[in-house]
Amino acid sequence: MSTHLDVDDLALVATGEASEVQREHVDACAQCRTEVGSFEQVTELLALGGPVSAHPPAHVWEAIQAEVDGTPAPAGSAWESRRRHREVGRQAGRSLGWKLLGAAAVGAGAMWMAVSLGSADEPTGPVVATADLDALESSVEPASAEVVERDGRRLLRVDTSSLPEVQDGYLQVWLLNGDASGMVTVGALSRSGEEFELPEGLSTNTFGTVDVSVEHYDGNPAHSGESLWRGAITST
């Protein structure tokens, strides 16, 4: 019988990557098999755990903030405050951090790539592209979007006549590619005329369609499929 494997090799056997010779030895050697078994406890647990990052609903941060400021949270528990915040729209965009959270999410399907800059009281720059956004639901009016350049940055501005009340959710702005096989999240839309900075490397030729969807607080980073507005970006 061949000599025992060293502990590093035993760990690698537990990952399923071992040479034929190593596997044969472990099959035949009770002592090494026990060792591999102890590593498999770790690998199986990791496999069970899987990627874990999720996007917490906005009211969690609001409750934290309220508590550390010494002011009691709106309704005591997080669950209660969630109900209070059902008419979202305006609440969702308040904490800037959200848009970045997804980027820290290991295994999230899409990355959050832009930071909402809030509604612009700043002067707008030249408009480099525009999009007419068709209303895909009868509850909303057609809207528009434009890309403006300011201080070397590109800002996507979404203008709507009004925002619908969203039950237990919020509005999410996306850029889609031609066949919608790829998409990038731009940010949560909380008021009309809101602006989002587009990352430098993001091409509006490739991702040439603006889409606004209703998303729910289900921690699922993927597009819900419930779009309210959509329209192609055209350079001016």
Binding site: D8, A11, A14, E17, L48, V60, I64, A78, R82, A105
Partner: protein, 197 residues
């Protein structure tokens, strides 16, 4: 968009700096810390206790982290690991409390949200959940590139050769990081086990 590895560059230096400003109690630090680790804490809590209770657990974790920030020692552990440690304790409290009260959610929404979470945890016992949190704490502790390698190997199911190519590292280095990390994790699990018994 290629995002096969859930591509997130974790910047250890930036994390360390954030840890230091958090420890010194800078007011803006909490929201930055939340931006950086809120998703992880919430994700872990969702997996452990279901999504509806994850809200409360996440809130408790960040509030108690802030309140005990003077106890955080940047030189002892990265902030992410410290936060996962707090998460682990809050989740253990949660299980303990539920066990004592035999609390069953009666609100249909809550019930459904919890049920929806079950397949992910696969009926993990409180003890397994605790072990899982120990491993995550370790993942946050080891930093990159080890952390990244483990994520690719175990969550993205990449082979060691694919990881080596992805990260432009020699295959032997990838293998030795993986085996070393597994050894660390195994001793942590054994340590916790002895501790508990």
């Amino acid at each position: 968009m290629t995002n096969r590895s859930g591509r997130v560059e974790v910047d250890d230096a930036a994390d360390a700096q954030l840890g230091a400003s958090f420890a010194s109690g800078e007011a803006a630090a909490l929201s930055e810390v939340y931006e950086r680790w809120g998703g992880l804490v919430y994700g872990l809590a969702s997996k452990a206790v279901g999504r509806s209770d994850a809200d409360d657990v996440t809130q408790q974790v960040f509030v108690s982290a802030w309140q005990s920030r003077h106890r955080y020692r940047p030189e002892e552990a990265p902030l992410g690991a410290w936060l996962v440690g707090i998460t682990r304790h809050r989740i253990a409290d949660h299980f303990g409390r539920r066990h004592r009260t035999h609390e069953v959610p009666s609100d249909p929404d809550v019930l459904r949200a919890n049920l929806g979470e079950r397949p992910a945890t696969n009926g993990l016992t409180a003890e397994r959940v605790d072990q899982l949190l120990v491993l995550w704490e370790e993942l946050e502790r080891i930093g990159d590139p080890q952390r990244r390698i483990m994520v690719l190997a175990f969550f993205e199911d990449m082979t060691h050769a694919q990881i080596a190519e992805e990260l432009s590292l020699p295959l032997g280095t990838v293998k030795s990081y993986i085996s070393r990390t597994l050894r660390r994790m195994r001793s942590r699990l054994e340590g916790e086990h002895e501790h508990a018994s």
